[in-house]
Amino acid sequence: MLRYVARRTLYMLLALFVIISVTFFISKALPGTPFADDKLTPQIRKQLYEKYGLDEPILVQYEKYMLNVAQGDLGNSFYFESRPVSQMILQRLPVSMFIGVQAVIFGLVIGMVLGIVAALRHNTLWDTLAVVVAVLGVSVPSFVLGPILQYWLGLKLGWFPIAFFESWIYSVLPSLALSVFVISTVARFIRTEMLEVMGQDYITLAKAKGLSGLAVILKHVLRNALIPLVTVMAPLTIYLITGSLVVEQIFAVPGIGEQFVQSIVVNDYSMILGTTIFFSVLFILALLIQDIMYGIIDPRIRISGAKE
């Protein structure tokens, strides 16, 4: 087990190293420098270059950059002068986290109920509903769903505010828009797994022992059906990150995603690259946790992984 974890961690660190290196060389390849101001005399520019270490050979700069990133220093924003990127990201993090976590909770609860009902009432209207929701969930992206929710629940019915973020009620629509993919993924997974588990011999045994229907479902079917849900962790993380970019934009939520899209608009390169690194770290962590949990749950993966 330890070897497996170590191996996975190593790959993840390698991937992270590649990403950060790529972002560094991209920032060097970008046209212009932060000090391309005609008003600066060559003298001053030289001093600025010296101050920020831009006159050093590129490999020395690379080494410094890597060391800085390793310590969580992502440089300063070009647009909001001299504000550290990492600080700007951390400031925006709670709002994004809140909406994302709430979307996952919505998705898990609704998706599980839908999936369970669909599996128990297999081949009925409920089942069809779950299948339709599953197809719609992967086909209707959040950047279409967001405006639809804004239009119906916000403008027409007036139940929820459609933009900004002042109190909890403002978070409902963004979370809902984000959660549909979660709902459909969870519902489809639970449904398929439960149908498969319900055909197993140990379920027949549990029923034959005389357990009540509810006990069989809760203790035996659902518990075994939940295990494979671990595999959707990494895709869900990617989805929440990408979804946050558009959903925060649509609902004018002051989160990381909105800041990222704004930084693209104003060409704030250091902000773009810093956020990119931050997102990559999040994703790679999710992938790592998923791999480790999968290794714990299913020892076959661990062993075949170690043999390679």
Partner: protein, 310 residues
């Protein structure tokens, strides 16, 4: 009761010729894998309708849409801004007075092009990479799989965004971005299938008859993986279409004045309060494409690989 008795006479019977081969007679024409799958697919109404809708969208986007309209997607007409759908402008006009009908279909063309490109990349890079890696095995396989693992550790969207920043945003850059990462899943699937097939008897027979590695893969292993490849293609296409629309939505994809469904939806979302049709029309076309590709993919999976049906 009196038992009636009747003399048995050979003339009462008709002798039947016993044909040893009769039991082996094949009643209908042989049904191959593809025919069989097609029969199964035809039973799936959702998939068939999706296929028809996709063909229709394809024809309208590439042929009928631009042909029957007298407007160009780029001409601005400031006197005719925000016209709702009319007999002249079927989908209305946007804030610059541009014709939405032609713009929406131009966007659909971009989506279909991206889907096609992703499919081609999947075949020419993903399948080839997976086949080489799986068939050769050993050290080569190790190195090739490590490369994929590192690529998979990087969210493809991040790669796309970085590519957009370095090169000029546009359809070529999007193609490059999708090309860099889109094929890895297919490569893994094909590799697994190659490993599973390459030691089976038919491959061994071909090898012992002196077939080269290329011939074994091309004539025996690939044809036996085609079902799997087609199924995967059908799921690559909608995710590539989504990636392009997403990038265009956040302003990193297709740039004005070109139109993409993503950028049209983004513009429409801004006009939601007063001109909602600007949002609905591109959204409907986009969702229609996505739903149809997904349903067709589901249908093909059930048809080509009935064991995977759940």
């Amino acid at each position: 009761m009196e038992t009636r008795h009747r003399e048995l006479d050979p003339r009462l019977f008709e002798s039947v010729e016993i044909d040893a081969y009769e039991g082996e007679r094949i009643a209908g024409p042989p049904v191959g894998f593809w025919k069989d799958s097609w029969v199964r697919l035809k039973k799936n109404r959702g998939a068939l309708i999706s296929l028809a809708v996709l063909v229709l969208v394809f024809i309208v986007a590439f042929v009928i849409g631009p042909l029957i309209s007298t407007h160009s997607p780029y001409d601005q007409n400031m006197t005719q801004r925000y016209l709702g759908p009319t007999s002249d402008y079927w989908f209305g006009t946007d804030k610059f007075g541009r014709d939405m009908w032609t713009r929406v279909w131009a966007g659909a063309r971009v989506s279909l092009y991206i889907g096609l490109l992703a499919a081609l990349l999947d075949i020419f890079v993903g399948v080839v990479y997976g086949a080489v890696s799986g068939y050769l095995g050993g050290r080569v396989d190790d190195v090739m799989q490590r490369i994929i693992e590192i690529l998979n550790g990087i969210p493809s969207l991040i790669i796309a965004i970085l590519a957009m920043i370095v090169f000029n945003p546009g359809i070529i850059t999007i193609s490059i971005a999708i090309g860099l990462t889109g094929w890895t899943f297919m490569a893994r699937i094909v590799r697994g299938r190659m490993i599973q097939l390459k030691d089976q008897e038919f491959a061994l027979a071909s090898r012992s008859l002196g077939a080269s590695g290329f011939r074994v893969v091309w004539k025996h292993l690939i044809p036996n993986s085609l079902g799997l490849i087609v199924i995967n293609l059908m799921f690559t296409i909608p995710s590539a279409i989504f990636a392009e629309a997403f990038l265009s939505f956040i302003g990193l994809g297709i740039q004005v004045p070109e139109a993409s469904l993503g950028s049209l939806i983004s513009d429409g979302a801004g006009e939601l309060r007063f001109h909602p049709y600007l949002l609905w029309l591109p959204s409907i076309v986009f969702c229609l494409l996505m739903i149809c590709f997904n349903l067709l993919g589901d249908g093909l999976r059930d048809a080509l690989d009935p064991k995977m049906r759940k």
